[in-house]
Symmetry: C2
Subunit: 195 residues, 2 copies
Amino acid sequence: MSPDIETLIQKISRLPGLGPRSARRIVVHLIKNREQSMEPLLSSMGDVHANVKVCPVCSNIDAFADVCSICADKKRRRDVVCVVESVSDLWAIERTSCFGGQYHVLKGLLSSLDGQGPEFLRLDKLQKRCHEDNVSEIIIALSATVEGQTTDHYIKKFFQEKNIKITSLAHGIPIGGELDYLDDGTLFTAFSARG
Amino acid sequence: MSPDIETLIQKISRLPGLGPRSARRIVVHLIKNREQSMEPLLSSMGDVHANVKVCPVCSNIDAFADVCSICADKKRRRDVVCVVESVSDLWAIERTSCFGGQYHVLKGLLSSLDGQGPEFLRLDKLQKRCHEDNVSEIIIALSATVEGQTTDHYIKKFFQEKNIKITSLAHGIPIGGELDYLDDGTLFTAFSARG
């Protein structure tokens, strides 16, 4: 095998969710479909590399001059900020179009196992923003995992006594979910939070 | 989401084994790890795009001038040709280093469902090669699926009465396999072919 191919397989196998076997399959596909697959992918990745940056305000990733398109959008409310773990979560919320405010993307959740402390949350930056934009509500939209809930709790504590409403996403039965198949924790939460 | 990012996600989600969700994860990873991941991947894919071609003799993919490194290797036997379905199968055989001959990579297996007829096997090319290189044995190394075995049978028929020994890989119990967990077909084959 040519060293060029070997290097490419290695690079692709290190991407999240992929391994050596799937990387080999992808590389064979790319080489066999040079015009339809490899060339468009190369040019598209080049575009992203040239244009896409991390927004200095909310840490969203986007192609922009000063701030990302969400921060720059005059039609969006500036007094509600939604805290998410990652850009994929931001995209997921944007797909539902249920939220018209601003975002604050964390660098990661609090996790002693991974050595991620409060500096990953960049709360001082969020606090400054709350002050400047007169933010009245912070919506914490984190996963219902141990790390997510610990971080949720930490953020609530941090903004206590700062006269800002802090809310979290509701927990309960997912839409389309059958009672019979739910885990005990979800069922318990759904019962306690009934309304 | 910026259209650049959207296009890249779309291109990546069309690669084999990936979908929109895994493509989104990969793109976020690439953008967040610009220097460690996106740049090496871009340059490595550029190298492959510039250097790697399909070998005109055996259809292997490699970086070469006239013919691929396997066809050009003077130390390899020229009188044994191994027929494989794809370059990944060639790589798998090369990893075992059990074979020191030449290869013939098919464009695909015979499959009426996918509309793949005998032209996908390029047997006329293989026959010409057999004549020129005085090939004494063709080893058919195809998957033990319906398409693989149909193609195996077709190739054997094609080279009948041409004074070339045609062999196929052995079928039986895989190494490390437990009898109890084997399917009936394999166990039956292993019994019939005992020796």
